[in-house]
């Protein structure tokens, strides 16, 4: 994306009879460059600032995404504080503070005051942010609606000064204007670890609980980022803590070069213009991934060029021929080790922490490629427990660990959920709608470039490759859920059977006594012994089939499944469960796969979480 946007030239209307209204010269005096800031200031809905409610969420989201990215890049376990201070009915002061590496003084203006300035746009690396628009746009929105500048405090390490800067964005020139700055040499109470950044933006917004609220965003972020800790102060001055569930950072994402199949002709021409290489062969080999000498030659040959052709001599026609050559060549898929999935274990830990359910399963697909971009799909499912059973299931969507809260039905993942065929897995599903029942479905897409449908990053574009992977991952999880549900139903049927007989035996024996004068107690004993014989037969069958009752059956060996037995509620069971939970949360998420966690108390998630949360507001939505 270029740093300026040329406006569409206004159509020159000649209204015939009256003759010309303005000369070309006069018009030229009015034609001028539009700064990107101006463009987005007028079109703020493109960035997610359509209405006050969404603006508040987008501001929090952009700041938190940046904070998480910064911490992970700096190798620091994120510890993020979010504070919403309500000044008036529709005016909020939003503060987000992280313990990241901090920002050096001279970059502060650029990062917070300039649109389309960032480290992430030009590289092929998996990260939350992409364009470098978000946080500066939030600052701009705040300035426009309240006239208040953005306050940034940042400290890069112990012994180094912390900088407190008040910034105002000059939309006409797309750059920041410093209003005041102070330097504090002493240690800052804000940053206990000696480094970090804090941003405060005052803006017009509206706070509302429920779907697509700040609460929901943070809850879902906590699920997808179990290695982070969040402290959230709500407008009503309650403090909610989302504790850390995994004590290890996800491995760092590797940066990769673009894949030839993933670029378009225009991009190819631009790359040819900008490259420092002088010959075609070197250009293909060095600036792309998965291109060796043989393939470079093949591509060049297709355009009647050689790998020694000087790049200066490549014109538009040649570039087009090269582009055709790329499409014709057989090129290996891009490397996938650049992707960092959440991992089934960490996903389970995240879900377990935030969703009160009885069954959890997760699955992770191998990496795949769309349009030359590698991506990977992961799916988690939570079922039963305290989830509402009479509503449609809930889909929570993530792209590179960022929750997507708007435009659900436009999202590729939503369509994949609908076409996954949940009836096969024991859930009810009306044609063309989400499955219904107490179920939460989590979908995560990790990619070096997530194809969003708009700049406000609300929905994933519908590529066939992506949808297919999503569907396969959903079905894999669905099969585990189906196995569990069938087993549960079978056990329920058995216990129902026992109950039914037990319930009616008393009535029958009393009626028999009244009719015949035989002793009710002896009839009851006889009937009960028949009943226990009958149900014992049923138990036997179960055991022979799959040893289901004792050890959890087929699912027991699967470490991507957690089943919480709601029955056990003794102190010992709770203590034991907490221990298992601790070991799960502390377990390295990726490297060594620990043994299955089969927990025996419902309280696990709850108890640990409750202890750490100062105030629990429960699930939003």
């Amino acid at each position: 994306m270029p740093s300026t946007v040329t406006p569409p030239t206004s159509p020159k209307k000649s209204s015939g009879k009256t003759g010309r209204r303005a000369t070309a010269e006069e018009m030229a005096s009015k034609q001028r460059e539009i700064s990107v800031s101006e463009f987005f200031a007028k079109n703020r809905h493109l960035l997610g600032f359509d209405n006050p409610r969404k603006a508040l969420l987008t501001t929090v989201k952009e700041a938190v995404d940046n904070a998480l990215d910064a911490c992970e890049e700096g190798g620091i376990l994120p510890d993020i504080a979010v504070e919403l201070l309500q000044l008036a009915e529709t005016r909020f002061k939003v503060t987000i503070r992280d313990n990241g590496p901090g920002i050096v003084r001279k970059q502060i203006e650029n990062i917070f005051g300039k649109l389309l300035y960032g480290s992430k746009f030009h590289r092929m690396k998996m990260s939350r942010g992409q364009q470098g628009i978000g946080i500066s746009a939030a600052g701009m929105y705040g300035l426009m609606t309240t006239g208040r500048p953005v306050l940034i405090i940042s400290k890069t390490g112990r012994g180094k000064p912390s900088h407190e800067v008040l910034l105002k964005i000059d939309t006409a020139r797309n750059r920041a204007e410093v209003i005041s700055e102070t330097e504090h040499l002493e240690d800052d109470v804000l940053f206990a670890e000696g480094h970090g950044t804090s941003v405060t933006i005052e803006l017009e917004g509206r706070y509302q609980k429920g779907r697509a609220s700040v609460d929901e965003y943070l809850e879902q972020t906590a699920i997808a980022n179990p290695h982070a800790r969040f402290t959230y102060v709500t407008p009503s001055n309650e403090t909610i803590e989302y504790p850390r569930a995994v004590d290890e950072l996800p491995p760092e994402a590797k940066e990769i070069k673009p894949h030839p199949k993933g670029i378009e002709l225009g991009t190819l021409i631009q790359m040819l213009e900008r490259t420092e290489k002088t010959q075609l062969g070197a250009f293909f080999k060095e600036d792309f991934c998965r291109v060796g000498p043989r393939i470079a030659k093949e591509i060049c040959g297709h355009a009647d060029l050689t790998d020694r052709t000087w790049i200066k001599q490549v014109g538009h026609a040649e570039a087009e021929a090269l582009y055709q050559g790329i499409q014709a060549a057989k090129i290996m898929a891009p490397p996938t080790d650049c992707l960092v999935p959440i991992g089934t274990k960490a996903m389970l830990a995240g879900l377990l922490k935030e969703v009160k359910a009885e069954f959890f399963a997760a699955s992770s697909r191998p990496a795949a490629v769309y349009r030359g971009n590698p991506f990977q799909i992961e799916v988690g499912i939570a079922f039963g427990g305290n989830l509402p059973g009479d509503e449609l299931g809930r889909v929570i969507r993530f792209a590179n660990r960022v929750p997507l809260l708007y435009q659900q039905s436009a999202c590729c993942s939503f369509k994949a959920v609908i076409e996954a065929g949940w009836r096969n897995y024991g859930l009810q599903q009306a044609r063309g709608s989400l499955p219904s029942g107490p179920v939460v479905i989590m979908i995560h897409m990790a990619s070096t470039w997530v194809p969003f449908t708009s700049e406000s990053k609300e929905a994933i574009a519908d590529y066939d490759e992506i949808r297919k992977e999503m569907r396969l991952a959903l079905q894999e999880c669905g099969r585990k859920l189906g196995t569990y549900l069938r087993r549960r139903q079978k056990m329920r049927r058995e216990s129902e059977r026992r109950n039914v007989f037990a319930r009616y035996i008393g009535e029958i024996s009393m009626a028999c006594e009244r009719i015949t004068g035989a002793d009710a107690a002896s009839i009851r004993d006889a009937l009960e012994s028949i009943a226990s014989r009958k149900t014992a037969e049923a138990d036997q069958q179960l055991d022979d089939e799959g040893r289901v009752i004792d050890n959890g059956g087929r699912l027991a060996g699967d470490d991507s499944v957690i089943i919480i037995d709601a029955a056990a509620d003794t102190p010992e069971a709770v203590a034991e469960a907490e221990q298992i939970a601790e070991s799960l949360f502390a377990a390295p998420p990726m490297k060594t796969r620990g043994k299955i966690i089969k927990k025996s108390a419902q309280k696990t998630g709850k108890k640990t979480v409750k202890k750490k949360r100062t105030k629990t507001t429960g699930k939003s939505g």
Partner: protein
């Protein structure tokens, strides 16, 4: 054990009581004196409190004792099975069209031999099994107390919450009604003998005197309301006195019946007028059967010209599918269908306004009825149903009012009777 009792089933009810009265009362008196069983004396004592002659009381006591014995046999078989540690069960004869046979020589619907085994240790049947035992117990209580209850009363008598649960023994009267009918067939005792009756429906007026539970009722002096036909019309409850009537005219509903009563039709034509409020209940059918069988009166029916009217006629004549086991004491194979007939539209020169278009359901039902074996071999009926279907409309008895208020009583029925113009 199949619960077919050893002795002849329920003959007592269908036999004519008048011939045997003397003999029976002697027997009953003897058994009363000889009986050492506390229960038997109790049964007899309580039934003695009811009205009627001594012979009636004895008769009732005998039937009651038999009923109690059958219920006890059912209970004992369940107890025996349980104590032997085998699955307890009750065999209930199937009451559906699949188990109904049409007896061509008697021209009656009869129940077949198919039975359904109801066991306790089957999830789908456990509750019904329990309900059967509860209703059996309730009926035994009722018979022993010598009192009667309505179907709804029986539902309440057996209704309670199962201890230790929130579940009720019955979810509604529908459930208890079905179980009661099952019990009737399972122990081969009639509902009347179980002392349970349905809601009373139906009216009678005419040249006859009856004794209802000992009270003399002169059906010639019933005013505009008529005598409400009781739900139980067994000879032990309802007796016929002096009767000059020569036939019975049964009409479909009370509106038409009122017309006939107001015009004193029964007086001018010396007959009995009855009405069954649509599909006649058991009491009305039993009464028609007895009027026909005991007093030798022919039965003529005046019903709507639609599939439902046709089926009412079929039930009066051959018995119903659900109560096929009672056809022998309910059906009147000689009953005749006077009208309304599909050709009456032309014959009586009726206006277009009386036509009611046949809907899909009507047509389907008409074809179903035409295919019943007891209609299949009736040429006139096949013609009649065919004619109605090709007309494409149905007619109610009231349609004749368009000719004249009393057309039906003064012209239509007398003409038909005179010409012996009916369908059989």
């Amino acid at each position: 054990m199949a619960l077919k009792p050893t002795d002849e089933p329920g003959k007592a009810g269908s036999d004519s009581p008048r011939r045997k009265v003397g003999k029976k009362s002697a027997e009953a008196g003897k058994s009363k004196a000889a009986s050492s069983s506390k229960e038997t004396t109790k049964v007899a004592a309580t039934s003695a409190q009811r009205g009627g002659t001594k012979a009636d009381q004895a008769d009732r006591a005998r039937v009651d004792e038999k009923t109690v014995k059958r219920i006890e046999a059912l209970g004992e078989s369940v107890v025996r099975q349980s104590l032997k540690l085998t699955d307890p069960f009750v065999d209930v004869p199937t009451r559906s069209i699949s188990n109904v046979k049409f007896n061509k020589s008697k021209r009656l619907l009869e129940m077949g031999d198919a039975k359904q085994r109801r066991t306790l240790f089957n999830l789908g049947q456990a509750k019904k099994f329990m309900q059967t035992m509860l209703i059996a117990d309730g009926c035994r209580d009722l018979v022993r107390a010598g009192k009667t209850l309505s179907l709804r009363g029986m539902y309440y008598k057996s209704l309670h919450t199962i201890s230790g649960t929130k579940e009720k023994t019955f979810d509604g009267q529908d459930e208890s009604d079905v179980v009661l009918e099952d019990l009737e067939v399972a122990i081969d005792s009639l509902r009347e003998n179980l002392h349970v009756f349905a809601k009373k429906r139906g009216t009678m007026v005419g040249n006859i005197t009856v004794f209802d539970n000992g009270d003399e009722i002169n059906c010639r002096r019933m005013g505009t309301g008529g005598y409400a036909i009781p739900s139980i019309c067994e000879p032990s409850v309802l007796k016929f006195g002096k009767c000059e009537a020569e036939f019975v005219l049964h009409v479909e509903k009370d509106t038409v019946w009122s017309r006939f009563n107001e015009d004193r039709f029964w007086e001018t034509h010396n007959c009995i007028l009855t009405e069954g409020s649509g599909q006649p209940p058991r009491g009305v059918r039993r009464l028609l059967h007895r009027l026909n069988a005991e007093l030798g009166l022919p039965i003529y029916c005046l019903l709507d010209c639609d599939p439902w009217g046709h089926y009412i006629y079929s039930v009066i004549k051959q018995g119903s599918i659900n109560l096929a086991y009672e056809s022998g004491r309910m059906a009147v194979p000689e009953a005749k269908y006077l009208g309304i007939r599909s050709d009456d539209y032309q014959r009586c020169d009726l206006s277009d306004d009386v036509k009611i278009e046949l809907n899909d359901r009507d047509c389907e039902r008409a074809k179903q009825i035409a295919a019943y074996p007891w209609f299949a071999d009736r040429r006139h009926w096949q013609k009649e149903i065919k004619q109605m279907l090709s007309n494409g409309f149905k007619m109610e008895v009231e349609s004749l009012i368009t000719k004249d208020i009393s057309y039906v009583t003064e012209t239509y029925v007398p003409e038909r009777l005179k010409a012996k113009d009916w369908i059989d």
